[in-house]
């Protein structure tokens, strides 16, 4: 049996190996920190340097060949109204307060994008370069990405009847691949936009804050918001004053939904078991009830049939008695009748004897009968 024992040990080892391996993986999965693509790009927007010239808007418009706006880009009165990104404007500069502070808005290219997490056709993806890309050919147009985006960035071409699509900043991924800077970064005359590796930009930004603590509000927006974004922001005033929400929290979008998503497979695994169990129990109860009912009915039937039999027996006994009496009576009756008949016969014989002595009467009678 040595071979089989060796086989057995081998099996054990293999089993142990798999279980420990799986255990390690499961541990890694539930406790692993995902830090984003290494060496991904980002842009640091130093809003304290922005002068609201709208050159970035213009460059973006040209690079992406978007529809020309009604008012030209050098018309700065546009800034008097708060705007958001749209199908013809992937980036927007807004003006806040007096003296004015400016802030540029565009897709923040989240480290854990809410839009990509929400997309049910993988039309939106986080590219290793850092850009969140959109594939129009897959998009169904459910607009859940727009619902999910905490920054209200994606726009939709609602007035296109047959081929509407989501529009948003691409981080100029095609240009990055060519080794060029994003359109807005390249044109910025004040170096309010710095393109680079996100890790380096985080360090640079904190150096700026540390070097000039009176000039900067001590917060690097985008470092942790919603799990971090590729675009990072510096400001002189609290970010709520330049239209940016500080209450988004640091939990990334996929983390917000992972609990509910994790409940799904467990329900699929357990519901059939529980429901079939409930069914089996109810069926069993039903069967027992049925059996009880059946036996009760059988008992009742048995009882009833016993009674019936007794009654029948009584009845038949009664009947036999009656019959017997009836027969006896009949016999008596018959005897009486026979006696009477005999008497009658005797009587008749006596009469006949008398008639023989008197023939005339007899012939007369016979003649009458013939008529």
């Amino acid at each position: 049996m040595a071979i089989s024992r060796r086989k057995f040990l081998g099996c054990i080892t293999a089993a142990l190996g798999t279980t420990t391996g799986a255990g390690a993986l499961a541990h890694a999965a539930s406790n692993k920190d995902f830090t984003g693509y290494p060496d991904s790009f980002g842009v640091l927007h130093d809003s304290t340097k922005c002068i609201g010239c709208r050159k970035c808007e213009q460059a973006c418009n040209e690079v992406n060949s978007l529809a020309k706006p009604g008012k030209p880009f050098d018309d700065l009165t546009v800034l008097d109204q708060k705007r958001r990104t749209g199908e013809a404007s992937y980036t927007i500069v807004n003006k806040f307060g007096n003296p004015p502070v400016f802030a540029k808005t565009q897709c923040n290219h989240c480290q854990e994008p809410a839009c990509a997490s929400a997309c049910f056709v993988k039309a939106l993806k986080k590219d290793p370069s850092g850009a969140v890309t959109y594939d129009e050919s897959l998009c169904v147009g459910c607009r859940y990405c727009m619902v999910a985006c905490p920054f209200n960035i994606p726009a939709y071409t609602y007035n296109d009847p047959l081929t509407p699509k989501v529009t948003k900043c691409t981080m100029c991924l095609p240009r990055i691949k060519e080794g060029k800077l994003p359109g807005c970064v390249e044109i910025c005359p004040r170096e309010a936009l710095i393109f680079g590796k996100r890790d380096k930009l985080v360090t640079l930004a904190w150096e700026k804050i540390d070097r000039n603590p009176d000039h900067y509000f001590k917060h690097l927006y985008g470092e942790h918001e919603m799990g971090g974004t590729s675009w990072l922001y510096l400001s002189q005033v609290p970010f709520t004053k330049i239209g940016m929400r500080e209450d988004l929290g640091v939990t990334s979008a996929p983390k917000l939904t992972s609990g509910a998503l994790g409940a799904v497979p467990i329900i699929v695994g357990l519901w059939p078991v529980l429901l079939t169990g409930v069914y089996a129990i109810s069926k069993r109860k039903e069967k027992i009830a049925e059996e009880e009912q059946e036996s009760a009915v059988q008992n009742a039937k048995d009882l009833a049939s016993q009674e019936m039999k007794d009654q029948l027996l009584k009845l038949s006994k009664k009947m036999t008695k009656e019959k017997e009496t009836a027969i006896a009576n009949g016999v008596k009756k018959a005897l009486v009748e026979v006696e009477e008949a005999a008497k009658k016969a005797e009587q008749a014989a006596a009469d006949a004897a008398e008639d023989a002595t008197n023939p005339e009467t007899t012939s007369d009678d016979s003649e009458k009968e013939e008529e």
Binding site: F34, P38, A253, P265, V268, P272
Partner: protein
Amino acid sequence: MEFFTFHDFMTYTKGITYLVMGAILIFMPLYWLYLTDRDD
């Protein structure tokens, strides 16, 4: 397979999980039949 974002990890693992779910939904009724088809 290495994942850099939690989103990629979720997409991959949930993809596998959905396949497992499909297998469970097919297997469980068949196993129930196996368990019960000699009853009565």
